[in-house]
Amino acid sequence: MALGVLPQTSRTDATNRDRARSISHQLYLRENWNDDQPHAESRIEGIHIGLAVLLLNLLPGLVGAIPGISSAVKQIITDVSGSASAVLASGSISSPSVNTVLAAWLGVINALKNDPSLPQDKLNLVLQLEKAVQAALLNDVQASAAVDWTKIVTIATV
């Protein structure tokens, strides 16, 4: 995927690209992993970042890019981002921590939706994307606990 080819070039795009590249680089480190190596487990343990966390890390950029947000709300977004990162960095994702993080983000987005001065179309867009992130995060709790490839079905293109 050519992440450099984006339809728009904005600060948010650049931030998201940097995040995606950073995560991609960490994922690349896995390419040479070897279960026979004595430190294989600790190497893997050090890389907790999966897709769910990657998507969660995109939320601050998406929400923060909504035009007209006050500096006070931007500070709240920064605070929530920091708290979410702290929770997720604390170890493997568990259901309570995921729900805490999601509740914090939903609170921010709902507060923004009640601000009539902000563009509702942009807020709706972020809310829909937040649903996708929420779906991945909630799924991650089960996916990290048991492997069952029969649950993965082929999805038709649109």
């Binding site: 995927m1 992440l3 984006l6 339809p7 728009q8 948010t12 795009d13 998201n16 690209r17 995040r19 995606a20 995560i23 991609s24 994922l27 690349y28 896995r30 390419e31 992993w33 279960d35 294989a40 487990e41 893997i44 999966g50 897709l51 769910a52 990657l54 998507l55 995109l58 950029g61 998406l62 890019a65 509702q120 179309d121 709706n124 867009l125 972020v126 829909q128 994307l129 996708a132 992130v133 779906a135 991945a136 995060l137 909630l138 799924n139 991650d140 089960q142 996916a143 990290s144 606990a145 048991a146 492997v147 069952d148 490839w149 993965i152 079905v153 082929t154 999805i155 293109t157 649109v158």
Partner: protein, 137 residues
């Protein structure tokens, strides 16, 4: 002397201690569980975006059927930006490719670890690009 030996033994034990990750039930190794987790999470995220796209395309009926599942449409949610259908389709095809590679590796039909890793990385990038590009719309 005994106390010193005991403390030294404890120190060595503590120093050698390393968190051991228990194998994920159902997995054949770490690559298998890592791949499954990303493919499964991606599937959930893509299903959510596809539901949004289908609701938009059908002008927000009460429900839509997405890959065999009935999903509720929220008319207040706003429209999916249709110019990002190619990105959605890339994420879907990447998902199907990674899923096929993961199933083959898990079942033993393939031992191509590098190929599976590449397919999963491609999927991860496609999904994150889908979300970030729509978000920057």
């Amino acid at each position: 002397m005994k106390l010193t030996t005991l403390l030294l033994s404890l120190a060595i034990l503590c120093g050698c201690h390393k968190a051991v990750i228990a194998p994920v039930p159902g997995s054949i190794n770490n690559l298998d569980s890592w791949a499954f987790r990303i493919v499964s999470d991606s599937s959930a995220a893509i299903h959510s975006v596809k539901t949004w796209e289908q609701c938009t395309e059908l002008n927000f009926p009460a429900t839509v059927t997405v890959d065999g599942n009935a999903e509720v449409c929220d008319a207040k949610s706003g429209k999916f930006p249709m110019e990002y259908k190619p990105q959605l389709n890339l994420a879907i095809t990447s998902l199907n490719t990674a899923s096929a590679a993961g199933k083959a590796y898990h079942s033993g039909l393939s031992n191509d670890a590098a190929g599976l890793t590449q397919a999963v990385n491609q999927l991860s990038q496609a999904v994150s690009a889908l979300v970030s590009q729509i978000g920057a719309h």
